[in-house]
């Protein structure tokens, strides 16, 4: 994660851009830019990572995540499990038990 501030840019990979914690909980890694609200305004965070339960609510609309789309089913399920209190290795085991939602048919309905 690269935070662009008035200071020199720092590169930290495993820190949650939202809560600031560094730990081994499963995360979402984003290729993109997030405008993080701070007391001093918006902080531009390039390529942020988030804990599943820390992904900002507005990210779904901002980043085109249709929570009801089959290709995003695992993200939705994992996010709900994390928000219900499942973290760390337990969340990793939960993820491992999900059916694959990779490479599903994304063709829009006519």
């Amino acid at each position: 994660m690269t935070e662009t501030t008035t200071e020199a840019a720092a590169v930290v990979n495993d820190r949650c851009a939202a809560c600031g914690q560094e730990d081994d909980h499963p995360m979402i890694h984003v290729w993109g830019v997030w405008q993080k609200p701070t007391d001093d305004g918006l902080l531009t965070v390039v390529n942020p990572s988030f804990h599943f339960d820390c992904l900002p609510d507005d990210a779904h609309d901002l980043w085109g995540i249709d929570r009801d789309a089959p290709e995003h089913a695992n993200l939705k399920a994992t996010q709900e499990a994390a928000r219900a209190g499942t973290h760390g290795d337990d969340l990793r085991a939960f993820i491992a038990g999900l059916p694959s939602d990779n490479d599903v048919d994304t063709t829009p309905e006519a």
Binding site: G32, I65, E71, L75
Partner: protein, 142 residues
């Protein structure tokens, strides 16, 4: 020589075709090269170069798989074509997410375009999700 914008848009809509099936034929009439749709997006642990694909992720609990571009991008405009929905790769294996590329769906996929340097340099642990948000994936023509 420079491309007219309309032609640049046509090129982008061709090599980033968001169709779910069919074939894109490129090249002179006498030697067409066929690319099979859908085009798919993949992730690598090393940087791609013009000559070679980087090392692609494999495995994971997902398991990792290339994601279809079908319906995921808008029409090219002003010599740019941008994603309109998120691409998610769930249940990733551990590794360093370095690069992003597009290839076709032929049995031995033909590589099309890649992001390239600098590396995204994202540390990915087993079970993590990699997300390419709407608007982040963009092709441009000069």
């Amino acid at each position: 020589m420079s491309k007219f914008t309309t032609f640049a848009n046509d090129l982008l809509d061709a090599y980033l075709d968001t169709g779910a099936s069919g074939t894109l034929a490129i090249g002179p009439v006498s030697a067409r090269v066929n690319y099979t749709l859908p085009f798919k997006v993949g992730l690598t642990t090393t940087l791609c170069t013009a000559g070679a694909l980087g090392t692609e992720f494999t495995g994971g609990s997902g398991p990792y798989a290339r994601q279809s571009l079908a319906g995921a991008m808008g029409a090219a405009s002003a010599a740019a074509k941008t994603s309109t929905s998120a691409l998610t790769f769930s249940g990733m294996p551990a590794g360093t997410w370095a690069d992003v590329f597009v290839a076709d769906s032929t049995g031995t996929p033909k590589n099309v375009v890649f992001k390239g340097t600098p590396s995204l340099a994202k540390t990915v642990n087993a079970g993590d999700t990699c997300l390419i948000p709407s608007g982040s994936f963009q092709g441009t023509e000069a």
